[in-house]
Structure formats: C-alpha cells, structure tokens
Amino acid sequence: MARPSGTPEDTPDQAPHGPPGSGLRAVPVRHPGRWVVTAVIAVLAAMFVHSITISGLVRNGKLQPRFQWRVIGQYMLSRPVLDGLVITIELTVIAMVIGIVLGVVLATMRLSPNPLVSGASWLYIWFFRGTPVLVQLLFWYDVAYLYPTVTLGIPFGPAFLHLNANTAVTPFLAAIFGLGLNEAAYMAEIVRAGILSVDEGQTDAAKALGMTRLGTMRRIVLPQAMRVIIPPMGNETISMLKTSSLASVITVLELLQAVRNIYSRTYQTVPLLMVASFWYLALTTVLTVGQYYLERHFAQGALRQLPPTPRQRMRQWAQRAHAARGEPPEGSVRRPTASP
C-alpha cells in the first residue's frame, strides 16, 4: 500500500536504506497474543451473559431462570430493604464523621511536641487498630456488663445525670461507637501522613506572616494535606459502607440484616443477597463519583490544568466531531477545557 510520500522531515523513522521521500511504510510490531486474549475474554463474557439471562435451572422439579431476576426485582425497592438501606447510609455517614473529626484531633495530638499528648494518641491508635472491629462492635453492644450506669458529673465528685447503659446504648449507638472509634484510628494515620506531606517551608512562610499555629494548620497545611488525604479517605468511606454490614451481628436492622430477615422467611437466600449487593454497588458508585470531584477540587493549584469533568469531556468530544464534519462547533466560544 503506497502512502503519500512526505518530506524527509515528516518521516524520520524510515528504513535507512530507502532514499528519503520514497514512502517506505513503517510496520508496527504485531501482537498476536492480544487477539488470543481477546477471544478468550469474549467467550467467557458470552458464557456469563448466557448464564445470567437465558439459562435455566431445575429447582424443586420446576425449570426456573438460574438468576431469579423476578425475585430480585420484587425486593429491590421493598420497604424493609429501603429501611435497611437508610440505616446503612446513616451508619456510614455518622461513623465517618466521627472518624474524620476524631482522626484530625488524634493526628494533631500525635504530632504534638508534648510526649504525653502524642503518647495518648499513639495508645489510642495502637488499641483500636490492633483489635478486630467485629470484636469492638460486640464489646460496645455489651458495654453495660462493664459499666452498668453511665454517669455525667465531676470525676469522683457529684453527678448530674445517671443513665442505664443497657437502655442508653442502643444497638445503633453501639454500632456507631464501634465503627466510628475504630475508623478514627485509621483516619488519624491518614491525616498525619497528609500533614507530614506538606513542605515545611509552608509553615515557615505562614509563621513569618504572623499567623498563629492554629490558623496555619487550618488555612495553609490542612488544605494542602487534603490532596494526599482524600484518596485514602474515599477508600475508607467505601470500606466503611461495607463494614457497616457487621452491625447486623449486633441486631442493627441495616441493609444486610434486612435481607437476612426476609430470606430467613422465604429461603430465597441468594437472590436477596444479590439485592443487598446491588445496593452496596450502587452506593459505592455514587461515592466513587463524589471522590473524583472532591479530588479535582483540592487539586486546585497543584495541577497546571485540572482534568476535565465527564461533561467537559463530552463537550470536547462533540466539538471535535463537529469539526471533523467541517461544521462550526456550536460551543466554539468556549475554551476547550473550561476552567472550573
């Protein structure tokens, strides 16, 4: 196949023997392995699609679709499942808020020059990271065994308020304590890493301008640390969403417990576990998208050009398509990547 011959500058990769401009074609390396892999994947995908759609299975003497999509559809939006979903979201959000706030406090304590303060933080992290979160959940559930009454008042002095721990610490509250306090230990390390990643010169500059230690932390160090903190924090949030299912063990009616209640009656175990899985996947997807935009926000000033949002990417693509067809792009006034 002849290729339009270019100027010698256009085709620097030419074979050394051909005279310049003779139009020798550069042949890229072939990758036969890729074709094999593609074929294998295609077959596997076809098998999978077949199994989840057309293929059937004889259960109790009747031919049924292998995946009982009808059952799944029936329960996806049912009342108990949605109620469980709300509890799961509540657990995740509250536990993460506790985790982040306490985590920032613990991280600042850990970086304190006072050995007692940093030691206390170290001890906290050591304990809560060193024991399984399931054990911690069970522990908070049974906390009344150790502390039957919760007393508010002056230590070793008069008390203002007595609470019966058995009734005050509901399973939901126990789950919040268990998940949140455990999370704080992990967040503390993440935040500490973020703070340490900020150049010391930044603190110098802020101090030299007369900013207080607290103001420097809040306005200079933490905003820059966020760039390092957010990816693992997104990870933790997604992880928390799923870890909150452990609260089912202490009778909290969250998503997993809700579907377990249903299948213990109907014995449709697998379809209902799939209902729960679909919801977890949906929420994880939402969190992933949120994380993308959050990262983009805190990349301000760290990247010369922010990566385009999916919408901006669509618009660019549309403009390029228009241009290729020779039509004037409709949004031609806009710059290719709109600044935020």
Binding site: A208, G210, T212, R219, Q224
Partner: protein
C-alpha cells in the same frame, strides 16, 4: 542628638543545633533604613541568623531585639520569659520575610497569597486589602497575574509575588533569605530590581545573598560570616575590594 533606636540589634547571639554551633556570638546592628547584606560560605550561619531575627528559630543565648523590643522574649527581673504564640505572631507580623524557595501557598491565587495575612492576622477589611494587594502586584510588575496560581508562574514571578505578600503586611523590616539563589539566571534581574526599588524607598533590609553586584550597588553595609561569626563588616565596596581578613579574602577569591 541621640542615635535612633536600631532596627535590629544582636548582642553575643548564640544558637546551636544539637552539638553543632550555628551561631557563636553574633554582634550586629542595623539602623533604620539601612540595607545590610550578609555573605559567606554555605553553613556559615547566615540563614540561621535571619531566622532568629523573626524567631523562626529560638536563640540559645545573647540578646536580639528588633526596633527596641526583644524578639520572642520578655525581660522580667533577671530572666527572659518566652512569649506566647499569639504575642510572637503579632511581633512577626511587623517583619517581612522572603525565602529562597518562595514558599508561596500553592492552593491560592497570587492575589489571595498577598491578601491572606492582612485579613487573617491584622483583621483588616477585605476590600481595602484587595485594592492594596492589586497595587502591590502592580508594583512588582505582575498586574496581569493577579488570578494565576503559583505553579502557573515562573520562579522570578513567584518570588516577586512573595515579596508583595510580605509587603502587604506593611512591615518595618524585610528579611531576604537568598531570594535569587533558586532562580534561572535570566530571571534574577527582575527580582533584584524590585528589591532595589524597595531599598530606595527607605525600607530596612537584611539580605542574605550571593549577588555581589547587588550587595555592592544597593547595600549600605556588608557583613561576611564564616563558621557562626561575623568575620568582617563594613561598606560593601571596602569589604569586597579590600578585604582585611584572610578568611574573607579566601572566600571572595572563590566567588568573584
């Protein structure tokens, strides 16, 4: 006629990092309006001295005062009490500092870098500070870079923003820590021009520098430091052309 209060007065200032003595008895007086240049080999304590002047580093012995007030300490009886964070901060707000590596806040625009401290530290009205910030950026030749982030600026532009940021606090004293050492050679001139203009306006400046030309032209006095002491001090022309001490001669022979 009495002598005016010196802007910077150091008496037998000592500072050590662990076992390393960074400053071994510094005596230095800088009069108001004076431009004092510090030169010397690396590790001689120039930067340390500068950082002690605004209490980024604590001194271990001696007296160091700025505009008649001790830096970082309060004298009571025969003891020096270290000041609280907030008191130190209000002192530091009177001293501007420019760093070798600019240290602009990368998550803020040039204008936000300049206006942050006057608003947060001094509690000035945002609108007024912003107008002043724009004027300052204009003065350092960056009127069109107001909304740029630091990483969109060249090194020389960043350093000029850093100077504007320090000036926004309306300091009585400016400290420059090798302000042109991290710049590409062709960008050094712009920064030095800004500093020269500042000196002409009567700002008191202490400048750690390797720019001998600048020291000779703009400096009122020049001090040569080596191994934590000031070896020689005088008018820049004299010290650079007719050094008296052997160590000064050896150093100048290498750099000139």
């Amino acid at each position: 006629m009495t002598e005016p209060t010196p802007m910077v007065e150091a008496r037998n200032v000592r500072k050590e990092y662990g076992r390393v003595e960074a400053l071994r008895g510094i005596d230095l007086t800088v009069a108001p309006g004076e431009v004092c240049c510090l030169i010397g080999p690396s590790g001689s304590g120039k930067s340390t001295l500068l950082r002690c002047i605004n209490h980024l580093e604590k001194i271990d012995a001696g007296r160091l005062s700025v505009d008649g007030a001790l830096v970082g300490y309060r004298e009571q009886g025969d003891k020096l009490h270290e000041l609280r964070d907030r008191e130190i901060c209000s002192k530091r707000a009177e001293i501007g500092m420019v760093f070798q590596r600019f240290n602009l806040f990368p998550h803020m625009t040039a204008l936000a870098n300049v206006t942050l401290a006057p608003v947060v530290v001094k509690g000035e009205a945002k609108a007024a500070v912003e107008a002043r910030g724009r004027a300052l950026l204009d003065r350092v030749g960056l009127a069109d870079k107001v909304d740029a982030y630091p990483n969109q600026l060249s090194g020389g532009q960043q350093q000029r923003v850093a100077i504007a940021r320090a000036l926004a606090m309306q300091p009585k004293l400016m400290l420059f820590d090798e302000p042109t050492s991290a710049l590409d050679p062709e960008l050094v001139g712009d920064v030095l021009d800004v500093m020269r203009a500042l000196a002409n306006d009567g700002m008191t400046m202490v400048v750690v520098t390797h720019e001998m030309g600048f020291a000779r032209q703009v400096g009122d006095t020049l001090a040569f430091m080596d191994a934590g002491v000031i070896v020689e001090r005088g008018a820049p022309g004299d010290v650079l052309s007719h050094p008296q001490e052997e160590r000064t001669k050896a150093f100048l022979a290498k750099v000139l």
